[in-house]
């Protein structure tokens, strides 16, 4: 393997990524927000903020709270809606040579289907399906907490689109590997995990929740051990690639997730704290491979000895 540069490429089905580092939905805007800090073209992929059928103005403020080594967010999935997204954002996103993954969300099975169909006409790289949202027709139970619903959403999205489909799993479940298996059975090309853990913070002076939405999603370094455990459990259960997410902020974190079985990883909250994080981690990973004389990042994937 000589003194050449290590091979950072990984594959999710037919999709070849320049490297396993993506940015997580909702923490990297539409890419442009970070153009001053990061060479976007170097990223494995950008996952854009979740898009829904109709525009959403999101939750009232306050929307974020700092917690011990983490944060709570209840943004409320603010986004311009699929039509405005297609006209305003897609042309801009096309300029980047990295993978473009569009994260979608819905209130109902039909909304997911519609979104998949509309995006199938574009030349985005892949679709990531956020199933942490409540299913309004099922009394607000989150799609991602019921294996049958996970299967149903996966199927419908699968049928409407030829793009690689990534099902993004919720960690607020007893058995996340069962949800991953349902996604696999439904035809997903990959699963990504974890989305945020449901949490809360209280303003003791006002005696009110700190978030207007009362509860929000916990992310950041605090949740990394939970995310890593779930990625490991899921990687043992399914054959499709696993994309690891949750509290990743250092090269060591990236390597841990790859060893646990992730084919790629996403950087979330770390982008907010350090806008150069994603690019620094690509460089850091390359250096790590060089220093440890590892020819290809693929050698790390699933490399855990147990």
């Amino acid at each position: 393997m000589g003194i050449g540069r290590p091979d950072l490429t990984v594959a999710i089905g037919d999709w070849q990524l320049a490297n396993p580092i993506m940015t997580a939905s909702g923490t990297f805007g539409y890419g442009a927000e970070f153009a001053d800090f990061v060479n976007l073209n170097r990223l494995g992929a950008i996952v854009v903020k979740g898009v829904s059928v109709k525009p959403r103005i999101g939750n009232p403020p306050p929307r974020i709270v700092e917690t011990a080594c983490g944060m709570l967010n209840a943004i409320g999935l603010e986004n311009p809606g699929i039509e405005k997204f297609l006209t305003d954002k897609i042309p801009q996103l096309k300029k980047y040579t990295c993978g473009i993954v569009v994260n979608i969300l819905g209130d109902s099975l039909e909304e997911y289907c519609t979104l998949a169909e509309r995006l199938n006409e574009t030349d985005i790289t892949a679709i990531e399906v956020n199933i942490s949202c409540p299913n309004v027709k099922k009394g607000g139970v989150a799609f991602g907490t019921d294996a049958k619903m996970v299967y149903d959403v996966t199927r419908c999205v699968r049928e409407r689109s030829d793009k690689p489909i990534i099902m993004k799993l919720s960690p607020n479940v007893t058995d996340i590997a069962a949800m991953a298996a349902a996604a696999e059975e439904g035809g997903a090309n990959a699963v990504s995990l974890i989305n945020t853990l449901l949490g809360m913070a209280i303003d003791i002076r006002a005696r009110r929740p700190k978030l207007a939405n009362k509860v929000g999603g916990l992310s950041g370094p605090a949740i990394k051990p939970i995310a890593l455990r779930m990625v490991w459990q899921v990687a043992q259960r399914v054959k499709i690639p696993v994309i690891g997410i949750g509290g990743i902020s250092t090269v060591e974190d990236v390597v841990e997730f790859l060893l646990a079985g992730a084919t790629a990883i996403q950087i979330g909250t770390a982008n907010l704290v350090n806008p150069k994080a994603a690019e620094e981690l690509i460089d850091g990973l390359e250096n790590y491979l060089l220093e440890n004389k590892i020819a290809s990042v693929k050698e790390l994937i699933n490399g855990l000895i147990t």
Binding site: G26, G29, G58, P61, I64, S249
Partner: protein, 268 residues
């Protein structure tokens, strides 16, 4: 991306000067790239945790107090963990900063400018006064500074020595200047001198009162808002605030659409 020019930077700025008391702290760092593009009313976000610590997690936002010769200065009140950590830093250490961020004050093409600051809201006024003076050297520039007590104004004593700036102060307890609210000063000044452009930064209720006064007097008014921020670059959508017309436009985002807004966008 040819011709693409960066307007935001991340850098480790060497601390050239730091002077901290029990309550306030003033830090000057070397940041030529930021100084070149900064505008008054914009802010920076500073990492406030020990290296490799994730607690506290978020960067802390501070208004740009002054830029000069590639040096950027912030002034802040020590209120919690982040500011306490920052106050412990030493000359020659490196401060991890991103900026300049957000939309700053728009310098109005007018003959009279009222810079109204309340408490730490006075911080951006130095840079603003200087900019107005550069663009409109002939204009009248009046700083009206409110605080709870005289001690709170100490951090900004140097504003008194800017030749082009007329300074009046008010305090809640009467220990400096007018005994009362800063809006009293504005009302008196406008009555005495006439209308002008108003630039305002301070506590919410103060800004709202001033905004409504300006609306009444038909004077242009800009206000600089504060919220908790995570990213500071418009990515997380965490810094939403309700504008005057929430439903039409959705929420405003302080770090991207602001922190400086036309007052009418916020209060009707």
């Amino acid at each position: 991306m040819t011709n693409y020019k960066k307007t935001k930077h991340q850098l480790k700025g060497e601390i050239k000067n730091i002077s901290c008391g029990d309550e306030y702290c003033r830090i000057t760092i070397e940041a030529p790239a930021m100084c070149q593009v900064a505008e008054p009313g914009q802010f920076v976000m500073v990492r406030a945790a020990e290296e490799k610590s994730n607690d506290p997690l978020f960067r802390r936002p501070f208004s740009i107090h002054q830029v000069a010769d590639g040096l950027l200065t912030i002034i802040f009140k020590i209120v919690g963990r982040g500011t306490r950590n920052l106050a412990k830093m030493k000359t020659a250490e490196l401060l991890d900063v991103i900026g300049p961020l957000g939309k700053g004050f728009h310098v109005a093409n007018m003959q009279r400018h009222y810079l109204v600051g309340g408490g730490m809201g006075i911080a951006p006024m130095h840079f603003l006064a200087e900019s107005i003076y550069k663009q409109h050297p002939e204009s009248e520039i009046i700083a009206l500074l409110g605080a709870r007590t005289a001690k709170e104004l100490d951090a900004f004593a140097h504003l008194n020595s800017l030749g082009y700036l007329q300074v009046a102060t008010s305090t809640d307890d009467g220990t400096s200047g007018h005994h009362g609210l800063v809006i009293d000063l504005l009302e008196q000044s406008v009555a005495a001198r006439g209308s002008g452009a108003v630039y305002c930064c301070g506590p919410g209720p103060m800004m709202k009162a001033i905004a409504l006064f300006c609306k009444d007097k038909k004077m242009p008014c800009q206000v600089s808002l504060e919220t908790v921020m995570a990213c500071g670059v418009g990515a997380c959508l965490g810094c939403a605030v309700s504008g005057a017309d929430v439903i039409g436009d959705g929420y405003l985002h302080v770090c991207k659409d602001g922190p400086v807004f036309e007052a009418a966008k916020i209060w009707v």
